[in-house]
């Protein structure tokens, strides 16, 4: 089954084009990265997948079916979502943040606790932090809590919107390793939005390159490195990989 597909999708903000004629399918249980400069439409693309943004033309299909915009919360529960700056709820402790969705969906407490601890171990979060509030954690720790929260219900799709953007290089590297380990232990379809091509190459098998709302190239990392589809892709890679 194709987990996520865009069928000739366009999105405009007033007269501005955010995305135009996007037609592509993401592969199951693989990590795909969406890269592009700011204003390329990559955030809009990811928000189309979980229905935060509705297309003006075309159809977005998730789990093989067009999105039912009347029942978005149910759909979103089957998709993890993590954003830049973590988006942790400041009034909830680490454990409450991670377990929020399980609690609201009436998981049995023992199961909730076990799952939360399992995730915390996977991303190297000391269990002693469970009762802390987000503001008492380092940036890296907060990011890990964000990952745990997104994966709590073991979603088959995981959307990351610049989720590692605000970290220092060392922490970022550590989290990358944990991210890869997570993907090995619980394979799922991941869409990762980033402006950093190196991060994309490291974490993803397939790469989508966007520019001003248009799809420039979609292929494996090797494909893109060896056969850039056009001049823009070539320039983009040069600029990103040389610096």
């Amino acid at each position: 089954m194709i987990p996520i597909a865009f069928d000739h999708v366009s999105k405009f903000y007033g007269s501005e084009v955010a995305l135009e004629e996007i037609h592509l399918a993401f592969e199951e249980n693989q990590t795909s990265a969406v890269v592009g400069t700011s204003g390329s439409g990559k955030s809009t693309l990811i928000q189309l997948i979980n229905g935060l943004v509705k297309p003006d033309k075309g159809t977005v299909l998730v789990f093989g079916e067009p999105i039912d915009y009347q029942h978005l919360p149910e759909l979103r529960l089957r998709m993890g979502y993590a954003v830049q700056g973590t988006g942790l709820f400041p009034h909830l402790t680490v454990e409450q943040n991670i377990a929020l969705l399980a609690r609201l969906n009436h998981w049995e407490p023992g199961r909730t606790k076990a799952r939360a601890e399992e995730l915390m171990r996977l991303v190297n979060l000391p269990l002693g932090l469970r009762a802390r509030y987000p503001h008492e954690l380092s940036g890296g720790q907060q990011q890990r809590v964000g990952l745990c929260r997104a994966m709590m219900l073991n979603p088959k799709i995981f959307l990351l919107d610049e989720a590692f953007g605000a970290l220092d290089p060392i922490t970022r590297n550590e989290i990358h390793e944990e991210f890869l380990r997570l993907q090995e232990s619980e394979a799922r379809t991941i869409v990762l939005v980033t402006h950093d091509l190196r991060e994309a190459l490291k974490l993803a098998k397939r790469i989508v390159i966007l520019h001003r709302g248009r799809l420039m190239q979609y292929g494996t990392s090797e494909d893109i490195l060896k056969h850039p589809a056009n001049e823009f892709v070539e320039h983009f890679m040069d600029a990103q990989l040389k610096s």
Binding site: Q47, N50, L52, L72, P73, E74, L75, R76, L77, R78, M79, G80, Y81, V83, G85, G87, F89, P90, H91, L100, L101, L104, Y133, H135, R149, A150, L159
Partner: protein, 494 residues
């Protein structure tokens, strides 16, 4: 158990069933009004009627409207006031004509007079009167520098200052001053001239000189019980026993006694006894001082609390609605803000034609005042939530209700709670004014104290009200500590 229920019923103002018929006696907010009403009340009680006292009604219009709307059954009124302020008759009429007119227009009955005339008079300190050789109101026109301070009612009534100034060609520009404070001001030399009632005990106490009304401007102000025509004739018969029973000297005497610190009830009782009008030895079931205080405080808290809870029940959902439907937000806030700008006493007065007097209009007025602070803080709290958190809470799959319940309201809680606190403190202050429309509470001694110019009595209401406000602050602080994680509180203080 039943005792507890009974006390709760008392606190909630649920009237216990009484054997006889209940008569509600009202009074306007000045000494003579209180004393006359107390006389009416005690006489009725002596004759076996249950009496509810709604004393201290603010001004003629409030009392008259209350009678019309069945908020009260009887109150003492003056013929001149009815003629000028209520019926607005163009010429002087006889007492019989006045009675007929009241019957025709309002189906009200002005019973026969108590027997004394308490007309308006213009007074100044005896010493300055002698010094300036002032004898008549006409003389007043010669002294432009005299400072005139008049009660608000007299200042604005057609039969008060406007007509007086025209008749005597008085050029001075008087200021409005609370009647109870005017005497003090004269004694302290801050004021020269004021309006008084001719039977006022203060005339004696402050040694005032009454200027002769040499052009016969003031009409007669014969005091009498005013009732609706449909009042039980047995009640009317009792009230009629007071026909011609009180002379001017007796009234001045009673007013002076009240000034000396005797309670209105004592003064009235002494009078009725002296006249042999009481058939029974009345057992005055007076509460102790602390009991009275506690009862008033309980009434006060009750008024405030009901209004506050109703305010929360309305303003928080309204705030949420405003947050969800931005289009209406500005209008809702404007309207709530407009309500806030209506002076409390005016708002209370507006309530009377709709809700009568007593606790209901007071609670409704307080409710309206509670709306804005809670509403504004609720919307501010919700609108100022970090947009990233809003996006995330939608994106991870929370329903609208779950977002509100688990994310938005908890995050907004410190600000919303602060709004509720503000409303509570405003309500405690404003509720003191509720006594003007017979709702009781800690405003009662303040209102009476203002009439008596009795600072101690004013403090008897003002101090507990201030303490209540402080306790409220304290309760809310504890609530905050209990309900809200500390690191969120520091943010809300801004």
């Amino acid at each position: 158990m039943s005792r507890i229920l009974f006390s709760i019923a008392l606190l909630l103002g649920v009237a216990a069933p009484t054997m006889g018929q209940t008569v509600i006696v009202g009074s306007k907010q000045f000494n003579e009004g209180y004393i006359l009403s107390e006389i009416l009340a005690q006489l009725l009680e002596d004759r076996g009627f249950a009496v509810t006292r709604k004393f201290g009604l603010q001004g003629t219009l409030v009392a008259f409207e209350a009678l019309k709307n069945r908020g009260i059954d009887v109150y003492p009124e003056y013929s001149g006031t009815l003629e000028q302020a209520i019926l607005k008759l163009p010429r002087r009429v006889t007492y019989a004509e006045l009675q007929a007119e009241l019957q025709r227009r309002y189906q009200m009955e002005l019973l026969d007079s108590f027997g004394f005339n308490n007309t308006y008079a213009i007074a100044l300190g005896r010493k300055s009167a002698e010094h300036l050789r002032l004898k008549t109101i006409s003389d007043l026109a010669k002294f432009l520098e005299l400072r005139i301070g008049l009660s608000h009612e007299f200042l604005n009534r057609q039969d008060g200052w406007p007509g007086l100034a025209q008749t005597y060609r008085l050029p001075q520009r008087p200021v409005g001053i609370e009647h109870g404070l005017a005497y003090q001001a004269i004694r302290e030399g801050k004021l020269d001239v004021t309006d008084v009632y001719s039977t006022d005990g203060d005339v004696k106490k402050y040694d005032l000189f009454l200027l002769d009304d040499d052009r016969r401007y003031f009409p007669q102000y014969l005091a009498a019980p005013l009732v609706r025509s449909d009042l039980d004739s047995r009640v009317k018969r009792v009230l009629e026993e007071l026909r011609g029973a009180i002379s001017e000297e007796e009234m001045v005497g009673m007013n002076a006694m009240a000034l000396e610190g005797k309670s209105f009830a004592e003064v009235a009782n002494g009078f009725l006894r002296g006249k042999g009008l009481l058939r029974h030895d009345t057992i005055t079931i007076g509460r102790s001082k602390w009991g009275t205080l506690l009862y008033r405080a309980a009434t006060h808290v009750k008024l405030t609390l009901i209004a506050l809870l109703a305010g929360m029940a309305a303003a928080i959902p309204l705030g949420i609605l405003v947050y969800r439907l931005r289009a209406i937000s500005r209008w809702v806030i404007y309207v709530a803000g407009l309500l806030q700008t209506i002076p409390s006493i005016a708002l209370l007065a507006f309530m009377i034609p709709f809700f009568g007097i007593g606790a209901t209009p007071a609670v409704i007025a307080l409710f309206l005042y509670a709306l804005l602070p809670i509403l504004r803080n609720t919307t501010t709290a919700l609108f100022s939530i970090d947009p990233v958190l809003k996006t995330v809470s939608v994106g991870i799959g929370l329903t609208a209700w779950q977002r509100l319940r688990y994310i938005e309201l908890p995050l907004g809680a410190p600000t919303i709670l602060a709004g509720i606190k503000t409303a509570a403190v405003i309500n405690i202050g404003t509720a003191t004014l509720a006594a003007f429309i017979g709702a009781g509470g800690l405003g009662e001694p303040i209102v009476t104290g203002l009439a008596l110019n009795d600072t101690a009595l004013i403090l008897e209401g003002a101090v507990p009200a201030a303490i209540l406000a402080i306790i409220t602050e304290f309760v809310f602080e504890s609530l905050e500590r209990l309900l809200i994680p500390k690191h969120l509180l520091q943010k809300a203080v801004e």
